[in-house]
């Protein structure tokens, strides 16, 4: 182990960073695979079914554990149909454009007190700008396919993402005000000292707005009008098949994991322990670490599935109304309240 560490620290920095990038990317892809399985299981349980339980049940232990791999192999073997009247180049590029930002955003994610691939100062802005680039893939896919349903889905998605990005940005303005920094690791550190200092306590309205806007940004139910299978078949990816479709699927779930992780970082203290300040300083449960981030992330990820199983799809004009007329005013009011709190020294940021 010590030899390994010695070799590791003797490597140049760009090599170490590359190894970390590889590890994080593979981890995200694997997480996506098991998130899909978990979603199908959760939906099954909510609907009193069993969910996938055939592939890879080893001695009946975890039935269905290899289902995602079976699905991927199936999709890989299928034919990728490119419509003859489509814009072929953009049609092929669009899935990659959706996928890349979902992975690139992990570069600034503080995974652990000592582990972040790129510890940049404007990390929050980097995340915001990348998540807003992801919508190009959806728009281009819808346009390039040269299909009415796909185009309608793309237009819906564009308007929705632009609207909810504003609410999301305003919610993050509150986080930045409280933390006094744009660096994600420092935002987590600003929430140190127990659950009472986590931002969701002090910025509760912004927390709710962020979670709702996060669901809308990822085009998930109940805001999945871009897909809207009951009205426009499958929305922007109606013409995609095989592995091209799988890339959209991958991007959607990678975005879900990303938004869950970001919610944990911004509002629930990221890798901080919830027992911090309650237990003695040396207690293992009070120590910060990746496992806490993972638990919080997992909770929000499961919530995504829970919403999908619970809520009916919003009507399009209702989505717009919720975004522009309710979420944005709520954030504006709470930012004002927060301004007064900062001025009068109320809250954790008075330290």
């Amino acid at each position: 182990m010590t030899e390994f560490l010695a070799v590791w620290s003797s490597l140049p920095e760009y090599l170490r960073a590359s190894v970390w990038i590889l590890i994080v990317t593979v981890a995200v892809i694997l997480s996506v695979a098991f998130t899909i399985l978990w979603e199908r299981k959760v939906l099954g349980w909510i609907q009193l079914r069993k969910g996938p339980n055939r592939v890879g049940s080893i001695f009946g232990l975890v039935p269905g554990i290899f289902q995602p791999f079976a699905d991927v192999i199936k999709l890989l073997l299928k034919e990728v149909v490119v419509p003859s009247a489509s814009n072929k180049w953009l049609f092929r590029v669009a899935p990659a454009i959706t996928l890349i930002p979902a992975f690139a955003a992990w570069a600034v994610m503080p995974l652990d007190p000592n582990l972040v691939i790129a510890d940049i100062d404007a990390g929050l802005l980097y995340i915001l700008s990348l998540t807003s680039v992801g919508v190009y893939g959806v728009i281009l896919a819808g346009w390039a396919a040269n299909s009415k349903y796909a185009f309608l889905g793309a237009m819906r998605s564009a308007a929705q993402v632009v609207a909810y990005e504003i609410a999301m940005g305003f919610a993050l303005v509150g986080v930045v005000m409280a933390a006094g920094t744009l660096n994600l690791g420092d935002i987590v550190r600003a929430q140190e000292g127990g659950v009472g200092n986590w931002f969701f306590v002090w910025l509760f309205p912004l927390f709710v707005v962020y979670v709702i806007a996060g669901v809308a940004e990822t085009n998930r139910a109940p805001f999945d009008v871009a897909e809207g299978e009951s009205e426009i078949v499958a929305g922007f990816h109606v013409e995609y098949s095989g592995i091209a479709f799988a890339l959209f699927f991958l991007a959607e779930y990678a975005n879900m994991i990303l938004i869950s992780a970001l919610t944990a970082v911004f509002f629930l203290g990221g890798w901080l322990s919830p027992f911090d300040g309650l237990l003695a300083a040396g207690h293992p449960l009070a120590a910060p670490g990746f496992h806490w981030l993972f638990l919080k992330l997992f909770f929000f990820l499961t919530c995504f599935m829970w919403y999908r199983a619970t809520f009916p799809r919003y009507r399009y004009d209702q989505i717009m109304r919720l975004g522009w007329k309710i979420l944005i005013p709520v954030t504006l009011v709470w930012i004002t309240v927060e301004g007064f709190m900062v001025w009068f020294g109320v809250g954790p940021w008075s330290r």
Partner: protein, 204 residues
């Protein structure tokens, strides 16, 4: 050396993308070329260590402005032939403007004749220097009034744009959400006698 290589690489892409904006026949390709141009100029700004501005460029122009641009361009069925009419008629104006711009760019090479080279060049900052903080310091102290004025101006523009496009057409039946939410069961449901049952008792 490596940085210079990156600079020339990005500059070449930037020029190609900018050219693509004006010469491609498909307006969607033009918009996409503009997106690429924004990305590469952001990369160039990163090279001169203006990371805040670079990220904001991507956030504002690529993330918001160009999405709306693309949205409009895709919705409109632009007829290129129609746009091209009158193109030659105003060519002389275009030539004059471009000549002025080229003259200004050439003038940059003779900066010393204007005494501009007397100012001190930018100083390289240490690695842990935060130019986000630096920008915020200047923006909210020294330039707070111009900043606020610009913000108010933008707000006025938003209000004006919305009020221009808001038309009260007759015959519209908009929904009043407050009314919908305030509806009670008694307003909508009326229990009538169930004649199929003997005695017609209340089904409750």
């Amino acid at each position: 050396m490596f940085v210079e290589l990156l600079f020339y690489g990005f500059s070449a892409i930037l020029l190609a993308a900018a050219l693509g904006v004006i010469i491609s026949r498909n307006p969607v390709y033009s918009a996409l070329s503009l997106v690429l141009a924004f990305f590469t100029s952001a990369a160039l700004w990163l090279l001169i260590e203006a990371e805040f501005l670079a990220i904001v460029l991507v956030l504002v122009y690529v993330g918001a402005v160009m999405v709306l641009f693309l949205f409009v361009v895709m919705m409109l069925d632009i007829n290129i032939e129609e746009v091209k009419q009158g193109f030659t008629r105003y060519a002389w104006l275009g030539w004059i403007v471009s000549l002025i711009v080229i003259a200004q760019m050439i003038a940059v090479f003779y900066a010393k004749d204007f005494g501009i080279d007397a100012t001190i060049g930018p100083v390289r900052n240490p690695v842990d220097h935060s130019n986000t903080r630096e920008l915020g310091d200047v923006l909210y102290t020294q330039y707070v009034y111009p900043f606020e004025l610009a913000a108010v101006l933008l707000l006025v523009a938003i209000v004006a744009a919305i009020s221009l496009t808001m038309r009260r057409r007759p015959g519209l039946k908009p929904q009043d959400v407050a009314k919908q939410v305030a509806v009670r069961r008694e307003d909508r449901v009326r229990l009538i006698k169930d004649v199929s049952r003997e005695g017609g008792e209340d089904p409750r």
